[in-house]
């Protein structure tokens, strides 16, 4: 089963920030990480990741820098302090959302 695109949209930022909270990463690495840790449930058109990253950079939630590894140039992203704060808020918001949806759904079934 795949997840609806609209549903996915609301959670990409929290996913990206969570990944970057663990370590600095480049775009391709992030798509692989998300795919693997979700057991392939979360797949998305990979190009769409980058505008999101650029928006986060403009909002100063993440910082970007180019790094050369051998013949390869990669653009790395790292989370800022401001980004960490935002992530905390988003996580709380998410927890509330999830528990509320569960509760409403649970009552609906009963």
């Amino acid at each position: 089963m795949t997840i609806n695109k609209e549903l996915m949209k609301g959670s990409t930022v929290i996913l990206i920030l969570t990944l970057l909270d663990r370590k600095e990463m480049y775009g391709y690495e992030m798509t692989k990480e998300i795919e693997q840790s979700s057991d392939g449930v979360f797949t998305f058109k990979e190009g769409t990741l980058y505008p999101i990253l650029h928006t986060l950079e403009v909002e100063k939630l993440v910082e970007a820098y180019w790094n050369e590894e051998g013949a390869r140039k990669r653009k790395y992203y790292r989370i800022t302090d401001h980004g960490r704060k935002q992530l905390g808020e988003k996580k709380r918001e998410w927890a509330l959302f999830r528990s509320t949806v569960d509760r409403v759904l649970g009552e609906g079934q009963a």
């Binding site: 190009g47 505008p51 650029h54 950079e57 970007a64 820098y65 653009k75």
Partner: protein, 453 residues
């Protein structure tokens, strides 16, 4: 690198990148975005090839996995599109409204022999100023200015020297440029250009000095003292514009500390300025000016002129009361109600309510610029805003401060509101430059140099 070039050669990839970038108006980020997407495609192609696909097929699959280029391009454009600082624009609009109200009131209350059409003149200057502001916002890429910082500096020094010999005198002040219908305070313009060039030079020399050795840094330090402190100071003194010198030096120290973080250089400037001030204190021709301005303020000497003005100003503010003496009222005792004493006059005629309104707008303006500086990502853009903003701030604080009698009385206009062509044009141009910097804040690529963690 050879691999990525090989991928770029393929029509599918080229087309994909072209369609993405076709949506992004900010051309300066195109290269950065293409490189990034290419790097991703490379990895994907490699992955597909390892799965056993041929190169051509692998590339086709990789591009397909990236998704709709129009979609991605539009989203990129959203991230990098031009920005408008509506908050700042709104504050400036309020300033203009206050200025026009003030000019009309001054015109009605003007009791000098020669009538002046303050309102009309101010409207003309504001009109031209708004034109310059819009031009700077839409068409002027502030980044181009940095390259010409030395040129700008040299030009400013040259203009100051020209002004010394060929400038006109207006109200006993030297260095004015007169053209039919208009005359401009050339030295005041030069002060702004000095600050602008200084920001560019400090930004570059800061990067250079960090890489240089000890000896080199000392040489740079002496050069900076000469270029930023000594030569402009001599020129301002030469033109007998002492207030401008004080403004210039204060802004210099602000830019050096807050922006360039060159504490040593800043303390050098302050020490040199302090010694120079002491020298002036014991030097006859300047003794009079200093004793008049500072002495009377600190009540060391009795100088009737300065004390009189301060007393009249404080009296006018007091007499204004909550709602004022009335719009367009005359004040017999208050001098230059159209420029230096405009805050006192407006309080006199429209009361403490008007004073409160002006203070609130000034504080909002300062907060707006503060937020704006924190949002700018380009260092040079930050410097430009800090430099010009410090000139504005100093005028606001000094003009209002001296009206209350808290600071020495001197020729200091209230930005945006006071009468005066040169300052109106310069202030609106500064706003244009701020908006130009803000407009392009997201249109620049992320730093290409490697940053250390």
């Amino acid at each position: 690198m050879s691999r990525s070039e090989a991928i770029q050669e393929h029509e599918v990839v080229r087309l994909y990148l072209k369609r993405v970038c076709g949506h992004i108006k900010a051309k300066s980020v195109h290269d950065d975005i293409q490189q990034e997407l290419l790097a991703h495609l490379e990895e994907l192609v490699e992955e597909k090839e390892q799965e056993g696909f041929g190169r051509k097929e692998a590339i086709r699959l990789a591009v397909a996995q990236m998704g709709d280029p129009d979609d991605v391009g539009r989203q990129f454009h959203q991230a990098h599109k031009p920005r408008m600082n509506w908050g700042l624009l709104a504050v400036v609009a309020v300033f203009i409204a206050i200025a026009l109200t003030a000019m009309y009131s001054v015109q009605l209350g003007w009791n000098k022999r020669i009538p002046t059409d303050f309102l009309m003149d101010k409207m003309v200057y504001i009109g031209i100023g708004l034109g310059i502001m819009a031009g700077l916002y839409f068409f002027f890429d502030y980044r181009k200015l940095q390259k010409y910082s030395w040129h700008l500096y040299g030009l400013t020094v040259f203009v100051m020297i020209i002004l010394m010999y060929f400038g006109n005198q207006v109200n006993g002040k030297r260095g004015w440029i007169s053209i039919p219908y208009f005359s401009f305070d050339g030295v005041w313009i030069c002060l702004h250009f000095f600050i602008l060039s200084m920001v560019g030079l400090l930004n570059v020399s800061g990067q250079k000095a960090a890489a240089a050795g000890k000896l080199r840094q000392i040489v740079y330090g002496f050069r900076d003292m000469l270029v930023f402190f000594a030569l402009p100071s001599i020129l301002f003194l030469w033109m007998k514009t002492h207030t401008y010198l004080v403004i210039y030096l204060t802004c210099l120290v602000i830019v050096m500390t807050v922006y360039a973080r060159k504490w040593l250089l800043a303390s050098g400037v302050m020490a040199a300025a302090g010694m120079f001030g002491l020298y002036l204190l014991f030097n006859r021709p300047f003794q009079y000016i200093l004793s008049e301005r500072l002495g009377s303020f600190f009540k060391l000497t009795e100088n009737p002129d300065s004390i009189y003005m301060t007393r009249m100003s404080v009296q006018a503010i007091h007499d204004g009361g909550l709602w004022g003496q009335g719009f367009g009222v005359s004040n017999r005792t208050l001098p230059s109600i159209h420029s230096d004493m405009i805050f006192s006059y407006l309080t006199y005629s429209m009361g403490w309510v008007m004073a409160g309104l002006i203070l609130a707008v000034v504080i909002t303006f300062m907060a707006q610029i503060g937020i704006m500086i924190s949002r700018l990502r380009d260092r040079y853009a930050k410097g430009l805003v800090i430099g010009l903003f410090s000139i504005l701030c100093l005028q606001f604080i000094w003009c209002i401060g001296m009206s209350f009698g808290w600071l020495p009385m001197t020729g200091m206009r209230l930005p945006f509101i006071s009468y005066g062509g040169t300052s109106t044009l310069l202030e609106l141009s500064a706003i244009g430059l701020f908006l130009s910097a803000y407009r392009r804040k997201d249109m620049i690529p992320s730093p290409s140099q490697q940053l250390q963690t």
